[in-house]
Symmetry: C2
Subunit: 348 residues, 2 copies
């Protein structure tokens, strides 16, 4: 059995804690600096305030200030921060962490380099650490899986990416459960890009559906045809982006599986529906309880990266009509007609 | 404006009639030999018994015995028969039809050759006609689109495939509408295979969901994770089959878009849910009102075709665990545990 330290005490980190603890591993969860109250609540009640199911008994909780204690003797550390904690995780944890402890990141998202190209969080952290003289490989976990589903033992298939086979297999052995299935790959950039950009495209599917609902005027049709038409285009543009990253086919397919679930459920869908129904970005965010949405960040970064690549002659922007449309909805706050004709092709 | 004859007076043929008639084309619909009563009802009421919306005024109805009158002067003929009318359409219509009238098929499915390989309906008809000394190219229409959605002006993207560019464009011009978007390709085998096999794989997604519902015992979780895991595997196996057909990427993506909509809606989903919940094939069919399901035919034909190809050393059957699982559910009537671990990979 392993000792696993999880940094970040949100829903997704809690889901991983449940999986790993149910296998008998010793789990130590540490919050970020703003999580002290949640840590106290977890200690007191044995459950996360936003999760219905109690933690298994072999999960212990640490305040942020004690994170170094939480990591003593750990086999590996999981970073379960959201994209707004990326630099905190870098500066306060990774820069100070014992170099012999492997790190697995469960964050989904992409960073933008100064030249507009995209890099995954692991690559971003690795390069920042290297500049500080710290050589560290970061491992990452991606793939379709809501925290709620994992906690409720719904079958879930995720992929762990990274460099060293022995470490990949050690992480897989520690986390794999009868309902939690793990693939392994070296294709870190491909996988991380795929699971990040699917958020941008799922927003496209949801906006189209919200707009159709608005035009329905309450008739509540299922709009399967238009959803499928946007899904087709989303998959096509995702493959184009991933080809630029030389992604493995498996990574691209993981992204498309993730697109399916994100188009159907998740907050990104709710947000896109509201935009399509005529709400502005701000109104939609307010209606959803002021949540910060990673999909917004991804749309902007992806859109900018493609614009830069187009300037370099590497892509043709007209090959990304859905991305351009989603970006325009975010910019103007108006979900106008989709560019349906631009989704058609003539391979003659 | 064009004169278009539609053979087959079901829902899908009616949807195409509505699109084409609203553009001002003259539409002549002829039923099959068993459709005389429906033809009479359409003439009397101006609407199809199973469709909520009336036909536009420029749609005329013909009994099967008068089909040759319906085709006089037509610019092209649409075959909107289901897979059970394939040989009737061949023998009673195509064998007798004026060779100068182009034919567009809207049927979805695949035929099996004696050696177990699959061919599309258009290729099947073309080869049978050639044997009878009749040289004819058949065009076909495929892609995600429920009849209901098309009739209700939901945006729909379909693809027409065939050999001659002028005929492809003539058909596109006649049918394209502000909500009905048409792509064109020469990749007939790829497109027809993609839109046929998606039925087999959508059944897999639905069986997994039905089984999960059964194990939930009424908890009614959404099971997004397990749906996405099966969707990933479905897309992967579909791409493998389509690679054998040298399908264009666009054709494969149309199939994946179609997989999305078929997994979410449509009869195939309802049927798969019942199987997953523990019903046998026969019970599920009875519960759905004795419907005949094209997906059953496709699963069996595809499964057999892959077995034949495996014997020839062209594929490895272990690369199709989801197809094998769906086939086993149909054969045994038992939706046992899915082979989740076989969906994982180690690209190391």
């Amino acid at each position: 059995m392993a000792i696993i330290t999880i940094i970040g005490i949100g829903q997704y980190g809690s889901a991983l804690a449940c999986v790993a603890a149910e296998k008998g591993n010793e789990i130590r969860m540490a919050g970020s600096p703003v999580d002290d109250e949640i840590v106290d609540a977890c200690r007191k009640t044995g459950r996360h305030p936003k999760v219905d199911v109690p933690y298994p008994e072999n999960v212990k909780f640490y305040h942020c200030r004690d994170w170094e204690k939480a990591v003593e003797g750990a086999d590996f550390l999981i970073g379960a921060v959201n994209s707004f904690g990326v630099d905190w995780f870098l500066n306060d944890i990774l820069m100070k962490l014992d170099p012999s402890v492997p790190v697995l990141s469960a964050a989904k998202g992409l960073m933008e380099k100064r030249d507009g190209t995209l890099i995954s969080y692991p690559s971003y952290w690795e390069s920042k650490l290297a500049k500080a003289g710290i050589k560290r490989d970061i491992y990452a976990l991606g793939g379709p899986g809501t925290a709620e589903g994992i906690i409720n033992h719904d079958h879930t298939h995720v992929t762990i990416c990274g460099k060293d086979n022995a470490i990949l297999k050690m992480m897989k052995n520690a986390l794999q459960a009868s309902w939690y299935h793990i693939s392994l790959t070296h294709d870190a950039e491909g996988l991380e890009t795929a699971v990040a950009i699917k958020n941008a495209y799922a927003l496209g599917v949801a906006i189209a559906l919200g707009r159709a609902h608005r035009l329905d005027k309450g008739a509540e049709q299922p709009h399967f045809n238009s959803q499928a038409a946007v899904f087709y285009q989303a998959a096509k543009e995702m493959l184009r982006v991933l080809e630029l990253e030389h992604a493995e086919l498996d990574s691209a397919l993981v992204g498309i599986g993730d697109l399916y679930v994100t188009s159907m459920g998740a907050r990104t869908r709710k947000f896109g529906l509201l935009l399509g129904e005529g709400k502005t970005c701000e109104e939609a965010q307010e209606l959803l309880g002021g949540i910060t949405l990673e999909s917004l960040v991804v749309v902007r970064r992806l859109s900018h990266a493609m614009t830069v690549k187009a300037r370099q002659g590497k892509v043709n922007l007209s090959d990304f009509p859905l991305l351009q449309y989603v970006m325009s909805v975010l910019e103007t706050g108006k979900a106008n007609a989709l560019p349906w004709r631009r989704f058609t092709y003539e391979n003659l």
